[in-house]
């Protein structure tokens, strides 16, 4: 290999004139985390609702939920990014479209909404699997006690279902962090884009990508351990098989 290594590059001044390259990467990591966390909030909230209505006794709600999931799961994330960023403003009435195009940080908001909806379909799939993995007696018992259907979900089904699907949910959370890198195509300078621009300015390809890779691994380790802690924290005594994923696929 006749590649010229230069690990000192991280401490050199980047072209923005005030920050070193390592700081550039950390800013990228901050954008990655901000995007992923906000999108995760959307994904959890919407995913829970869609997952619930897919197990409801109302046929048209079930079909609506199924259509939602199929729509967001069968279009590549990158294409969805382009639809939100390039296509949506054109299809809006002109005033709204122009406002959308001139928005500060437009790529950030687009990435959050796009990733949030994309992941909500996957969360919905897990929530549905979690609810269906409960014995049907739980629902019947809830209703027989005089709870309304929403109360049965709120107090009986969902607390157990969410505990059961914690392991697959944590891997979805890891996915959303990784998937936020797709937003570099619409101009969001998250971690991968920061490494890419560091490579373009400094020509130190492998140092830049090694730096980004290490930061991703650190984030990964923190999330995995945090989720393990959460799993122990909310475990219901007596349910030993809780660690098992509800469904393999």
């Amino acid at each position: 290999m006749n590649y010229h290594w230069n690990w000192g590059i991280f401490f050199q001044l980047s072209p923005d004139g005030t920050h070193a390259y390592w700081q550039l990467l950390l800013f990228g990591a901050a954008w990655t985390l901000a995007t992923a966390l906000l999108a995760w909030a959307i994904a959890l909230a919407l995913g829970a609702v869609i997952g619930v209505i897919r197990t409801s006794p109302v046929p048209w709600l079930v079909r609506l939920g199924n259509a939602y999931v199929e729509l967001f799961r069968n279009i590549p994330l990158l294409v969805q990014m382009f639809l939100w960023y390039f296509v949506l403003p054109e299809l809006m009435p002109e005033a709204i479209g122009d406002w959308l195009k001139q928005l500060n940080n437009a790529s950030f908001y687009n990435a959050v909404i796009c990733l949030g909806l994309y992941t909500s379909a996957r969360v919905a799939e897990q929530v549905k699997a979690g609810i269906l993995s409960l014995r049907s007696g739980q629902r019947m018992a809830g209703l027989a006690m005089g709870l309304t259907l929403p109360q049965t979900y709120r107090y009986v089904l969902l607390p157990m279902a969410f505990r059961i699907i914690l392991p697959p949910l944590s891997s979805e959370f890891l996915n959303i962090i990784k998937n936020s890198s797709v937003a570099l195509t619409i101009g969001l300078v998250e971690l991968t884009a920061a490494a890419r621009s560091m490579q373009e300015f400094s020509f130190q390809v492998f140092e830049a990508f090694t730096g980004a890779t290490i930061i991703y691994i650190i984030i990964n380790i923190i999330v995995v351990n945090g989720m393990r802690w959460l799993e122990r924290r909310v475990a219901v005594p007596g349910f030993i098989s809780m660690g098992q994923p509800a469904a393999a696929h």
Binding site: P76, V79, V87, L91, P93, S181, T213, H249
Partner: protein, 230 residues
């Protein structure tokens, strides 16, 4: 709202979109799936082996690949493959490889990590009695795997492997970041040349949607059929 939409641009660019773009996407998907399953199965065997060090190395590779985004992996290999080529052939300079080869190496090695986990689950789903029976019959390790364990593991995992292939089909659109002309790349080039972003991206979304939807329905049907036979 749809007043200045020109659907004709799609008709005009159909040959380019499908003969150039979609052919690249399908070729990349099929070849990367095949390579990924082969290397993934070898990785899975390595992860389950007793040879000291081997399972740790395989495990480290799989965990590393699975914890970084595909976009970053694409960038890594885009710059790394010329050096790997130089190392293999002993050439004096990094070898320039084509976009297709670079993408193929990337997706094969990336998907191998995911296929490894699928095959590992498949191998572990086979009852231990099968291995013991094979050992009792005097089979070598190679025979146990190729004659007894892997055929069953593979068969059990066919639906999951196919689902992963559909995900790979969608993921290949990310070669956009190294300016390769796959289906989305072709759509995007026309979109920018003719200033027809809305038409081209909507059309690309519709095509991806119907191919993935059809394929996943087909996988679900296959899954039900296999389940009945067992």
């Amino acid at each position: 709202m749809f007043s200045n939409i020109d659907w004709d641009v799609i008709i005009r660019s159909l040959p380019y979109l499908f003969l150039d773009g979609m052919r690249f996407t399908i070729m990349l998907t099929l070849m990367a799936t095949t390579g990924g399953i082969v290397i993934g199965t070898l990785l899975a065997l390595a992860r389950l082996s007793d040879i000291p060090g081997l399972s740790q190395v395989a495990g480290a590779y799989v965990n590393l690949i699975r914890s970084i985004p595909l976009v970053l992996v694409i960038f890594w290999f885009y710059f790394l493959v010329p050096y790997i080529g130089q190392w293999f052939t002993g050439a004096a300079r990094p070898i320039q490889v084509g976009a297709f080869l670079s993408a193929l190496v990337t997706f094969t090695l990336f998907e191998a990590a995911y296929f490894c986990e699928i095959m590992r689950a498949g191998i572990q789903s086979i009852p231990r009695g099968q291995i013991q029976a094979a050992q009792a019959l005097g089979m070598t390790y190679r025979q146990q795997m190729t004659e007894v364990i892997l055929p069953q593991a593979f068969r059990n995992m066919v639906p999951v492997l196919l689902t992963q292939t559909i995900i790979l089909f969608q993921d290949t659109s990310l070669v956009y970041v190294i300016s390769v002309t796959d289906f989305l790349g072709a759509a995007s080039k026309i979109a920018q040349r003719d200033g027809r972003l809305v038409e081209m991206y909507l059309f690309a979304a519709i095509v991806y949607f119907f191919i993935s939807l059809t394929a996943s329905h087909w996988v679900r049907r296959l899954q039900q059929r296999i389940a009945i036979i067992r």
